[in-house]
Symmetry: C2
DNA sequence: CGGCGCGTTGAGTTGGATCAATGTGTGTGG
DNA sequence: CCACACACATTGATCCAACTCAACGCGCCG
């Protein structure tokens, strides 16, 4: 029996990505159709309307998935971190533009081959289904925020969400993976409003903003109350 | 071999629901675990936070899936029409409240049994995966609307979407399945704003609003341009 | 007839956008 | 090393789209 390749054995996201649910011999299948690719910050992986050519696991870095209006207004509809799955199987053209927000490393699978792997390996398909359902949940929560929450609630909620994703347990300082402008694109507001809300939270003593993108949550309880979703 | 039951053979959504992709013998499996239920308008099928007990196909009627904030603001995150799938497999508690907006008929499957059916029948799982991916796309498009479109664009887009769902080809009159207030809940605005935008569209000659929930699209081209997404 | 749910319309308010100026850190070339 | 440009962030002033509050019209039902 073939040993799992070094690439997978050493992979940083072996235990958090789609691959986490796979046994070594199933992993070998993905391994055989995938290849690693390093993406420089700012580069676009796929344009909305393009052929849906690839699926991938994010190994490191942060990417954004965006939708935009004909006249160029842009909304970030998803952030992709290490371990997240990326791509639109069973679609011929993509509905999203995917852009690297930092240097990023992907484990890329040609879409058709990935689809074949789904067919051949029920476990893989099950894992993707569960992830897709989870993404749908996330999108629906975001709909509530965009539709019904005010600027302060959205910013507070965003900080808590990022902190959770970054596994911040204590009140340690963490680094936002996004600029103010990109936060604005996630939250459906302007850069100025994001900035003002952050300084409000800082003035209220709920967070500290030591420098640039650094954030520390000083009073989680009150921040959660302010965000309005527990 | 067992014949497909009369229930399925006569089913109004046999060819548009999840079931559409299934052969008769696969349908028999769903049939054996499912039962029909009629839901009166206004009744709640599942509350956010409840046990995730059932999945279902919508046979007739319209339902809403909502998220809400702690203080009671509500956002409709999905509308469910005949043929749509409803439920959250693989979750122990629901994240959504499901409410019938009209009298509705469901084909209900106990969640655990439905999950077993997914495991036993790869085709069914594939169909659900594809539907879930499509729902995710829809949610992401809605995110763009809530985040970046103004009231007029949202209302125009909503009318086009409903018209498309109702398969309106010509400029025939159709009946909105939602009240003004429910439209407001979908579009993340207030009842008054919905009403004003509708009368604007009417004044501009893009639509007719003969009476109550009746709508006719008079100038689809210009309405699409106004909505700003083709 | 009166009450009630739903929709429309008007008047006034406001939260967040827009426009504009200034600050801050970083890299680059003289 | 400084001067400068440039991207990003903050802050202020103003504006306006959508919300809020309020009145009223319409159809429906008891």
């Amino acid at each position: 029996m073939l040993a799992t390749s070094d690439r997978c054995a050493e992979c940083a996201v072996r235990d958090v990505s789609l691959c986490a649910g796979l046994a070594d011999h199933e992993l070998e299948v993905l391994n055989s159709i995938g290849h690693r690719k390093t993406i420089p910050s700012g580069q676009v992986i796929a344009w909305e309307g393009d052929d849906s050519a690839v699926c991938a696991n994010v190994v490191s870095g942060v990417l954004k998935a965006t939708n935009s209006t004909l006249d160029g207004r842009e909304q970030i509809v998803g952030l992709l971190f290490a371990g997240d799955f990326l791509g639109q199987p069973f679609r011929d053209t993509t509905t999203l533009t995917i852009t690297a927000l930092s240097d990023a490393e992907l484990c890329i699978y040609p879409r058709r081959r990935f689809e074949q792997a789904l067919t051949d390996h029920a476990k893989l398909e099950r894992l993707l289904l569960q992830r897709t359902l989870a993404s749908l949940d996330n999108a629906q929560v975001a709909l509530l925020s965009l539709g019904r929450r005010n600027a302060g609630e959205r910013v507070a909620g965003f900080l808590l969400e990022i902190a959770a994703r970054a596994h911040i347990c204590a009140d340690a300082v963490f680094i936002l993976p996004l600029s103010r402008g990109q936060i604005a694109d996630v939250l459906g507001m302007t850069i100025e409003t994001v900035s003002r809300q952050l300084t409000l939270l800082k003035s209220a003593g709920l967070v500290a903003l030591p420098h640039g993108r650094e954030v520390a949550i000083l009073d989680r309880k009150r921040l959660e109350a302010f965000a309005g979703n527990p």
